[in-house]
């Protein structure tokens, strides 16, 4: 009996202490969930170089993953839970939102463009990368601008922004394009490689990563016309201002301290696993702007 009371007392004391440590603010939403489960779940993509992909050791790595790890570090401090577990959950384009909404993952750390349409379902943290959609072509195809695509086959990724960009281009310039669909970047590139399509549209950074990994990187080039600006951001659940503010602050600190620059260089200008390829893409003006003036504006 005495033992029981002691335990209860200890529990009470511990309870008081821990609430004291977690500031005055009451935890809600995601932070509360993380505190209760002792786990933070990160959604990653298995092959989205260099943002979020699996290393040889089957560990998720990449630019987005690093940003998320920074956020997790700060969660540990905030919640005073140094032993907080990080659980990695593989997501694909179609599952990233449902898994975020239903609580399977707490942070979506892949490559997701912040769009106004998508903001109806989830919230985005501050823009962490700005890509622009471009067409990749074979150098031998003799295509210098989108006008040269007239009557040719162009492959788009189903559901990607390249799809409607291409449809609009087709309509506006009356190009008579044959628009082919591919399930993902791998298949889209295969269609370009095998000659089913003469051009493949995707975000420049993803095209450069795919080309760098391909068998003959020198055979391909990107048309210089930027077709869009795509702000990439980490996804979090809607209606959770506490977590969003907290995570945004982590990013803001990274941006203002300049810590983001070496972080960027590591993934975009230096050799990256698994094949030690270099994407060789210096920081764009648009990204510099997004870092100087952090924002979460969608397109």
């Amino acid at each position: 009996m005495l033992d029981h009371t002691k335990k209860l007392l200890a529990l009470l004391v511990a309870g008081c202490l821990s609430t004291g440590a977690v500031h005055a603010e009451e935890l809600t939403g995601t932070l509360k969930k993380i505190k209760e489960t002792g786990t933070v779940a990160i959604g990653y993509r298995d092959a989205s170089l260099p943002f979020s992909y699996l290393s040889d050791a089957q560990q998720p790595i990449g630019y987005s993953i690093d940003l998320c790890k920074k956020i997790v570090e700060r969660i540990k401090v905030k919640l005073d839970e140094p032993t907080l577990k990080t659980e990695f959950v593989s997501v694909v384009a179609a599952t990233r939102t449902p898994l975020l909404i239903n609580g399977t993952i707490d942070l979506e750390c892949g490559v997701t463009t912040n769009t106004v349409e998508r903001q109806k379902q989830i919230n985005f943290l501050l823009t962490s990368y700005v890509a622009s959609a471009k067409y990749a072509v074979k150098k031998t195809a003799g295509i210098a601008s989108t006008d040269d695509l007239k009557g040719k086959a162009v492959v788009v990724i189903t559901g990607g922004s390249g799809e409607w960009i291409t449809k609009n281009l087709n309509r506006d310039k009356n190009l008579g394009l044959k628009i082919l669909n591919a399930k993902d970047g791998g298949e889209a590139f295969l269609m370009l490689e095998t000659g089913r399509a003469v051009a493949y549209i995707n975000d420049d950074v993803q095209l450069m990563a795919t080309i760098a990994q391909s068998r003959r990187p020198d055979d391909y080039t990107l048309l210089s016309e930027p077709m869009s600006a795509e702000p990439y951001a980490i996804g979090v659940r809607k209606n959770d201002p506490q977590f969003k503010t907290f995570a945004d602050d982590v990013l803001r600190t990274l941006y203002s301290s300049g810590e983001i620059t070496p972080q960027y260089q590591q993934w975009f200008e230096q050799p990256i696993p698994p094949k030690n390829t270099v994407i060789n893409l210096p920081m764009s003006e648009a990204l510099k702007e997004a870092i100087a003036h952090p924002n979460d504006t969608g397109v």
Binding site: T158, K183, M191, G195
Partner: protein, 242 residues
Amino acid sequence: MDYNWNWGVFWESAPGESSSYLYWLISGTSWTLATTLVAFLLAFLIGGLVGTLRTTDIKPLVWLCNLYTEVFRNIPLLVQMFICFFVIPELLPVALGDYLKQDLPYPSFFSAVVALTLFTSAKLSELFKAGIESVAGGQKGAAQALGMRPAQTYFHVLLPQAIRVVFPPLTSEALNTLKNSSVALTIGLMELTAQARNVSEYSFNTFEAFTAATLIYVVISLLVTFVMGRIERSLVIRGATR
């Protein structure tokens, strides 16, 4: 779960698009139906032929048809579609390969139908073979004793009975073909599942998109079951023991 349900999403349209999301699903449904119907009918004919030949006494043909069945039945459909779409055109003479890749209209539909037909026909050949073998052996002997030639034996005695035996599992195979047609999204055919994914990607209304696709699949499946059931009943011979 803090999900923003929006069943009205189907009447909305993607940014810059004039057609609604509902239209996307309808277009996907038509591709699914077209792929399923063409592939299943062709598979029925080819599978019927191959399955029948496997029960004959012509050894080289039996051997060849067995090989056909084993090859196409045992390679995953996904792999077959990939090979059909990406690899075959590279192995053909350049001119023909280029034709398949660049000039053929609806290249993914074509590859999907070919791969799905081969895969399904291999399974149907197994079905037909089993059906023919289930017809009592004495009947074949009796037909021959009456002086029927092999072709007559098959067309007048064995096949009419076998088709009645294989009909119920044939319905399952028809349903399988319908569901297997969704694999074609991997080679870029914008069938129902692909369009559901598309709606989900554009609107992020994932649950609504896939719920709608599920319902459409259920309705088509029930229709197939109903139609096949009617045909099956019309085939019943009164007084037959089977």
